[in-house]
Symmetry: C2
Subunit: 205 residues, 2 copies
């Protein structure tokens, strides 16, 4: 019975992608039903057919963006500090696609800060990311590629650094081209390297 065969969920994906494009271009302040519909080459009738309310529409778009970001192909890397580096590189806006995603997340903070529920969602999201990073750091420490120290703190520090770098790169792209972002990330990692001759050498047992 459907005009386009039963891929109801595929249509919702199309709509969400239009939401992403509008958000990346005009932010939450410019996100209207009509703008999304126009971006999709359709009318608001389509939108309300697939989403009850604007809130649902945005929630689905952000949820899908998060899951897609989480499921995207990751940079391959050996264990140790190399894996930490790869995980952090995966966050930075080094490609147009990553730039778009990051733009959306940064923009979403305005709405999130005004709504405790959304703030909690974001907090959970970043806490999970921090935990994953911590595991990689523990492994790198075990291999003696990172100096010893509370891995939770090192993870929180690295995450803060990368997050701030994302913001800088978005607001001042010319000053933070990919090469510079990578350079700064490597500086940060170098500062976490084991001190030569001090504690933190590889364990051997």
């Amino acid at each position: 019975m459907p005009r386009t065969k039963g891929d109801h969920e595929a249509r919702r994906r199309d709509v969400s992608e239009a939401v992403w494009r509008v958000l990346a271009a005009h932010g939450f302040g410019g996100l209207t039903m009509r703008a999304v519909a126009a971006e999709l080459g359709a009318t608001t009738g389509l939108l309300t057919h697939y989403f009850r309310t604007k809130r649902d529409l945005v929630a689905h778009a952000l949820d899908l963006l998060e899951r897609r970001t989480e499921a995207r192909p990751r940079r391959a890397a050996g264990p140790g500090v190399s894996a930490v580096r790869a995980a952090l590189l995966d966050i930075l806006p080094l490609t147009p696609e990553a730039t778009g995603s990051n733009r959306i997340w940064v923009s979403s903070w305005d709405t999130a800060l005004a709504d405790p529920g959304l703030s909690a969602d974001h907090a959970r999201k970043y806490a999970r990311s921090r935990d994953r990073l911590r595991d990689l750091i523990v492994e790198a420490q075990r291999l003696g590629e990172l100096r010893p120290g509370d891995p939770d703190r090192i993870a929180a520090g690295a995450q803060a650094f990368v997050l701030g770098l994302v913001v800088q790169a978005l607001l001042d792209a010319p000053a933070f081209p990919p090469r510079r972002q990578i350079e700064l990330l490597d500086d940060h990692l170098a500062a976490l390297a084991p001190t030569r001759g001090g504690p933190g050498e590889p364990h051997d047992g």
Copy 2:
């Protein structure tokens, strides 16, 4: 002739402070003329009397916030790494007032990213802050309290770190109380300390 004597500029300050309060509470998405007027205990008639348009109103409020932030009393500190630490501590949301200011700036990124002109304003602002930080870092290096290395890069790294920490602290206040923020900042600075026995010891000339 004025009802309240000629402090035209003082009234504009009052209005701007109401804007700050609305922004800190409801973000840019909740910033309306009526909301500002209500916060002020007045009507929109007052607002339009002092500002031609909403754009002017917001611009003045943010401009004033920036100047006030820049002119506020700074943490006293000796020269060297202590001054770097103090400058970075001055940015973090360690007090309710600093939390409010940071909330506003983070929220403003949504609007800024959608407008190249505003993005450029922000870029200039952060570049200036980075330059000031760089000067402090150069001095700390000269005193042998910071390891050698391109001071511009160290400044950019420290600024990114602090900026990201601000975001984390705002979105997840329970996980980042003042003590934890300071702890993480000190971790970052410790990682920049001169390596014992390596290069970077104090010059004596």
